[in-house]
């Protein structure tokens, strides 16, 4: 192994992307979505994508806004505190995007089935509802089945495995061997990484393996499961990374306002994604003053507001 190990620059990430691939992305609502990797994915031109998502609203919304999303297996996409993902929703309403609905646990269990190498995962939720009764693009019998327990102790819903081609994950820190640590909530990252064929991780910080070994309990994905690591400080912006910075509510608001019109959203994507030469230019465009203001407070875990605790 070379000294750089699995560490690659962002420009090399597109070699993992293909038209028509299925994709899953880490994060939950305002937290740790792999936004810099996602912007690179959109810049790469990969299209006809299938998303396997839980609550990664920005990923779904940007893929929909960029016109590269064909299908989504998912449970809930919305901008918490703002409202629904408009471009994604309008894509569904216009028939451009096909969807297959789940409850959160339904998505988690399908990814878990893949992660554990099982033909199905039994679960309790979703039974009796249109989520299992009304098919989207997937035949209902391939999605789930209401089965009797072989032990004679009731019935469960069996859901089939979902195996994304690629998982993109943004984490707190990683080493060159691909050992990945994440503080705070971990969303569905563990299941996504274990289910996916290829795992690409971006991290706020690249640390020595000794640092990982000192607190192995923080490791969420061991190096043996990771294909590439990219060093991308503020790589989750405008979402946050616990222990580093919180979500950028202004940026989120600006996008949300732009998402009301297709022209504005195109401009937003051109400005912040397509015409952005690289991640560093992106950070410069956001501005150091803004980035610094998002830094979390050690004891609070989120950004301190002036006067709030005086």
């Amino acid at each position: 192994m070379t000294s750089s190990g699995k560490l690659i620059p962002l420009e090399e990430v597109p070699r993992f992307f293909r038209d028509g691939m299925s994709l899953t992305a880490g994060g939950f609502a305002h937290s740790h979505q792999p936004m810099a990797l996602l912007r690179e994915l959109i810049r790469s031109g990969a299209k006809n994508l299938t998303l396997m998502g839980v609550a990664e609203c920005w990923v779904a919304e940007f893929l929909a806004a960029a016109g590269v999303l064909d299908r989504a297996y998912f449970s809930n996409f919305m901008f918490e505190g703002f409202g629904r993902c408009r471009q994604f929703s309008e894509g569904v309403e216009a028939g451009r995007i096909e969807v297959e609905d789940h409850s959160h646990f339904g998505m988690v269990c399908r990814l878990q089935a893949s992660a554990l190498g099982l033909p199905f995962m039994p679960m309790r939720a979703m039974a009796g509802t249109d989520i299992v009764a009304v098919p989207g693009f997937e035949p209902a019998e391939e999605k789930s089945s209401f089965i009797a327990s072989p032990f004679g102790n009731g019935h469960v819903t069996a859901v089939s495995p979902l195996k994304p081609d690629v998982a993109i994950i943004h984490a707190a820190r990683a080493d060159r061997l691909g050992n990945v640590q994440l503080f705070g909530t971990t969303s569905v990252v563990e299941e996504q990484a274990r289910a996916a064929g290829t795992v690409i991780v971006s991290a706020e910080e690249i640390v020595e393996t000794d640092v990982i070994r000192r607190q192995p309990e923080l490791t969420i994905i061991p190096g043996l499961m990771v294909d590439a690591v990219v060093h991308l400080p503020y790589g989750a912006h405008p979402t946050g990374v616990y222990g580093y910075y919180e979500h950028d509510a202004d940026h989120l608001g600006a996008y949300y306002a732009a998402s009301r019109s297709s022209g504005d959203v195109r401009d937003f994507l051109r400005c912040w994604v397509r015409d952005m030469p690289d991640h560093w230019a992106y950070l410069d465009a956001v501005g150091m003053a803004k980035l610094m203001s998002l830094r979390t407070d050690p004891a609070l875990g989120y950004a301190r507001r002036e006067g709030a605790h005086a």
Binding site: F183, E205, Y234, G243, W280, L283, D297, L300, G307
Partner: protein, 299 residues
Amino acid sequence: MAQPSKIRSLADAVALIKDGDVVAIGGHTARRHPMALMREIIRQGRKDLHVVGWNNGIDMDMLVGAGCVSTVETSYVGIGSFGLARNFRRACETDGLRVIEHSETTAMDRFRAASIGLPLFPSKTGLGTDLPSTNPHLKPFTDPFTGETWMAVEAIRPDVAIVHAHTADEQGNVQLDPERWHDNSPDVMIARSARTVIVSVEQIVSEETVMSRPIDTILPRTDVTCIVEAPYGAHPCCCDARYDYDLEHLGRYHEATASQSGFAEWLADYVTGPADHWAYLEKIGARRLMEVSMKRTTR
């Protein structure tokens, strides 16, 4: 709570410094000097300063080059492995800049004495050397108990001390990271020796953060006049475990200072050009700042 906020803007904080003041500078060599404050001193065109420190580099060299300084009082002015401090050298060799020479311990002792309310501190350093010939604050005296000769190091009471630290709360309780480097300890003496104490910090944190680790507080608010939030405020110096030296920038500085005109251009580019600290950081760019960053987690 009734305690007032001590947060000030960079410009308002530096406005507390007057022409002709004795200004003590925290940090040493190329470590954690209050560079954001010093760039603002240059922007505000302060003159005739008497700058004191215990071990200095680009901080004093930049102030001297910008014409803010009439007297330098320290044990060292150099740009680390790059070599001599060229503005400082030029000012000495051609303009006759006044330099009051100290050794490291005597440079600290004068702050130490003032910080604990003593008029002088006894030392052996300097005996038999030329240091007292340039330094009126070093005078031999006789130990009344043993009759032995000692050097008296006179306490210094700077008008203003400027220090860069890791964190502070709104009220001005200043903390260093638990993994702080012990070379920071003279900053406490420097601050406590001065009448006005301006501290820039990487991040202003909640009162809760401060109170959860009171042992990390190096200066309780009673020692502090005001706080300025200046992330990367020591750049291009290093800031302990948070970020490394920006060697590329220091190298460019060293090259630029080869001539007065080169330095003038550098000043316009990096100090007087950018309107404030944020503009300076934009000028350096996110890429460079992230490259020198060693530890960004605030947990």
